[in-house]
């Protein structure tokens, strides 16, 4: 069934009631707005005040800590020197050719009859050794030892060449070795 609204209040009276209703709403909005404004203003300003106080407190603590750190500036300076030095020392050690180590290893592997007469080391860790063997046996022994994978893994290249026999029965030869890299 259709609902029908019938307003029995006359036109003028209805208009007056509408105007009064609007006035009441406006008044309500104004009061609500004022309370809301006061509330937010109080809240925001008090929050600002608290945060400001906290920031100042932390800044004060930072100043105190900085003052204490300032008393240790010499220690900090020494640490800086130590770090600087260790970095540079590492650079120097890395730059070593390793020739002495290679020579030491070759001497260790050389049997008794082998003598190194002239040893020449280059800047890239390469060694050229003019050596002499008392006999073929010692030379053979040296070459066997240098061929051993456990020994040869420490070198990039090993070459024995220019083997010659002297009138005294000794054998001169050229041993060329390149290390695996800088020490």
């Amino acid at each position: 069934m259709l609902k029908t609204e019938v307003n029995l209040i006359p036109g003028e009276e209805r208009f007056t009631q509408d105007i009064v209703s609007i006035q009441k709403r406006l008044r309500f909005l104004a009061i609500f707005g004022t309370i809301f404004l006061i509330g937010t203003v109080l809240f925001s300003f008090s929050l600002t005040f608290i945060l400001n106080f906290q920031v100042q407190d932390v800044s004060r603590q930072i100043l105190l800590v900085k003052k204490k750190i300032d008393e240790y500036r010499q220690r900090e300076g020494e640490l800086l020197i130590l770090k600087n030095r260790s970095g540079l020392i590492g650079k120097i050690l890395k730059d070593r050719t390793g020739s002495l180590m290679i020579l030491s290893e070759l001497k260790n592997e050389s049997p008794e009859g082998i003598t190194f007469e002239v040893v020449e080391a280059g800047m890239k860790g390469e060694l050229k050794i003019l050596a002499r063997s008392a006999d073929l046996f010692s030379l053979n022994e040296l070459m066997n030892r240098l061929s051993d994978p456990e020994v040869s893994k420490n070198f990039k290249a090993i070459e024995v060449s220019s083997i010659n026999r002297s009138s005294e029965g000794t054998y001169g030869f050229l041993l060329e070795v390149v290390g695996n890299g800088k020490s």
């Binding site: 909005l29 930072i62 020197i81 260790s86 020392i89 080391a121």
Partner: protein, 240 residues
């Protein structure tokens, strides 16, 4: 017409609330919103300051935890390994000392010292500077010669042998070697207090440990014999 008259008579009841509402809106926009923005900024600032405080606290704790004596010893050792100044005479004296130790003899020595050491008060020079020495030396047997080389590379200040030629053949020609000695000025300006602490890393400790057995020899400076002559005071030959 009557309705308009009716509204006009009751204008205060409309205007006042409207003014209040407009004022509230303006106050919200011009006062409250900027204040909330300020609150956000203060929050951010507080967060940053707190982080800064934590970092500074950690730096202070690290500095307080360092043993000053140990640090001093390590610094002194590192400076003996890599000095800040060139010192040609000291290095030459060191070679002489090592030659005596290994019973070898230095036949000749060449060096190009370059510019005498200067230290800029503000410049930090991270690069290594060096001096190159060329020595001719001889010994009775190859072991003495090799010992001499080993002593050079295992003594302080640090030196690197770049090339050498050892001669133990019967022709008596001397052995030769090229040695590089190093120096570098120390950093003279510190970072700001806020900067994080430059701690010594494990790798740095390992590097220093690798040379801890290197020997620092007591260097006896070579004596230069006094010039012979009738007087030790030179007279001006052009004086009247």
């Amino acid at each position: 017409m009557e309705r308009v008259e009716f509204i006009c008579k009751r204008w205060r009841l409309f205007v006042l609330p409207l003014v209040v509402i407009i004022f509230c809106l303006l106050a919200l926009a011009m006062v409250v919103l900027p204040q909330f923005k300020k609150v956000t900024d203060l929050n951010q600032q507080l967060k940053i300051e707190r982080e800064k405080l934590v970092a500074l606290g950690a730096k202070l704790a690290d500095l307080e935890g360092i043993d000053e004596m140990v640090l001093g010893e390590r610094v002194s050792f590192s400076l003996s390994a890599l000095p800040k100044n060139k010192d040609v005479m000291k290095t030459i004296s060191l070679f002489n000392g090592l030659a005596q130790l290994t019973q070898t003899q230095i036949d000749s020595l060449e060096v190009s010292p370059g510019e005498i050491a200067t230290e800029s008060p503000t410049m930090v020079d991270p690069d290594l500077e060096n001096l190159t020495f060329r020595l001719k030396f001889s010994g009775e047997n190859s072991q003495q010669l090799v010992d001499f080389l080993n002593q050079i590379e295992q003594s302080l200040p640090l030196m690197n042998i770049t090339t050498f030629r050892l001669n133990t053949a019967g022709d008596f020609s001397p052995s030769q070697l090229t040695v590089v000695s190093y120096f570098s000025s120390i950093p003279s300006s510190l970072d700001t207090i806020d900067a994080p602490l430059k701690k010594v890393a494990k790798e740095d400790e390992l590097i220093l440990d690798s040379i801890k057995d290197y020997k620092k020899y007591q260097i006896v400076l070579m004596e230069v014999p006094e010039a012979t002559g009738t007087s030790s005071v030179r007279t001006d030959p052009f004086a009247n």
